[in-house]
Subunit: 288 residues, 2 copies
């Protein structure tokens, strides 16, 4: 896991130049290079690897997924959205570079990511690249990530078009699970996996994404600032729609365990240390 994160960080640094006009490239690189778990690119690389693909082939795509993730963080932090002054323990992008540059840095990451896939994926066929970018644009846009963010904002304003349960499912699937799905799907496509295998990983990522979001909701409820390194209890204070607020803490833990166990079952046959490590970490923290 540490080794993969190191490879990802080095690649992100290498792929992202600082050229004229430097301000925009610096803004893009600033949030991109903040230390993170790199969970999405790790899962992309590991999926490709256990399906028999050299991870070098899929490294540009894995980094592109992290760029998409970081883009959504930069825009989410803006004053007119979540208005967060900090990200990963550092001042958020607009606090350092100003709002205009933060918006443009997000836009630039959104276009740079597919550009990177095209320019650096020398070992993938044109058909594979088209499929990867198709997934990338679908899952990263109004049919995925952005839809999740829009419904999340609407629900915070108390405006629900669907029932609270359906709305919460939609937000979890589109705001959280969607990038894990994208990660494993791209890994599978790069490995030349057939549709049934790709779908199996997709189901895994969907369950993992939901578990990950419920984990986040539980942690916000039960942890202290010291434990998480960020303000907790924020969801409750703002009356936010979460798994815990809707179903209660015990039910949330039950659902989390059920989903995580499904994840172990699906991934079992691949003997993946990395995936087991990721699942173990989440499970241990909820149980402790």
């Amino acid at each position: 896991m540490k080794n993969l994160i190191k490879i990802i960080n080095e690649s992100l640094d290498e792929y992202m130049p600082i050229i004229y006009p430097e301000e925009i490239f610096k803004a893009m690189k600033y949030t991109l290079m903040l230390p993170g778990k790199r969970l999405r690119p790790v899962m992309c690389l590991e999926t490709a690897r256990i399906l028999g693909c050299d991870i070098k082939k899929v490294l540009p795509s894995a980094c592109a997924i992290e760029m998409l993730h970081v883009q959504s963080l930069i825009h989410d932090d803006l004053p007119c959205m979540d208005n967060d002054d900090f990200r990963r323990g550092k001042p958020s992008n607009h606090k350092v570079f100003g709002e205009a540059n933060a918006i443009l840095a997000g836009d630039a990451l959104l276009t740079f990511a597919p550009q990177l896939i095209i320019e650096k994926s020398t070992d993938l066929s044109a058909t594979q690249i088209v499929r990867i970018i198709h997934e990338f644009t679908k899952f990263g846009g109004a049919y995925g990530l952005i839809a999740g963010q829009v419904v999340d904002i609407e629900s915070e304003g108390g405006k629900l078009v669907k029932s609270p349960e359906e709305t919460l499912d939609f937000i979890h699937l589109n705001k959280t699970a969607v990038l894990f799905r994208l990660a494993v799907r791209i890994g599978a496509i790069a490995a030349g996996a057939d549709d049934s295998v790709t779908n199996e990983f997709d189901v895994f990522a969907k369950k993992f994404g939901l578990a990950f979001q419920i984990y986040d909701d539980i942690m916000d409820e039960i942890s202290s600032f010291e434990e998480l390194g960020k303000t907790t209890g924020k969801d409750k204070a703002s009356g936010k729609l979460t798994y815990v607020s809707l179903y209660g803490l015990e039910s949330a833990k039950k659902k989390f365990n059920y989903l995580i166990n499904d994840c172990y079952d699906i991934i079992d046959k691949y003997n993946s240390e990395i995936f087991n490590e990721i699942l173990d970490k989440l499970k241990t923290r909820i149980e402790s």
Copy 2:
């Protein structure tokens, strides 16, 4: 020309669905469907046509270029950028849908555009699609359109890294010419043109883009609100770096004529009514 605009408007309407969550699709479609000259998609289609390509083949890409253009308008109008309340005579996107949705609508157009190219370009090869999306991401991102916008904002704040002349050239090339270049290049790629032909159209679009920007600068200087339908003299009042402010009105007109005449020369052999109509319109208004 009118016929092409009609086809483009109908296609944009057809390509852009309104589905759940409707707010984001409505926001995307709102600015997209405001009446415009559709100059960039028109030039894309016409380039493809005169190079022997059925325009149906390139229609999704032409519409994607308009989406990229509209995305940049939505984000440019935001309070932290140009702070414009009106666009094409109507309230700007954030005035209707709020800032958060306007930012997300722009993001969504940036991802929807390549998605559209992939899903609807059934008559193009995977290699052509990869080349088209590569141009799209390069010209639309930090190596093109966004770089132009960043330097434009910097120059308005009086922060110049290069000389005023170089800075102005950079802004004109990247903020204005870049999407005309993208339009003709994609038209040429769809038509299967060789590099020398693609480059010829590229040179045309570069000259046209510069002429178009100088035209805009001149019009801002000499027209009344009634003639243009928007506030004029804004550039001068704000001390903005323009061709007119840097070189004077006469020199600007000279440069404009020189560039437009070059454009006529390059395009002459194709006997294109559409390109001649576009050039004639600009030329007549400057001369009158």
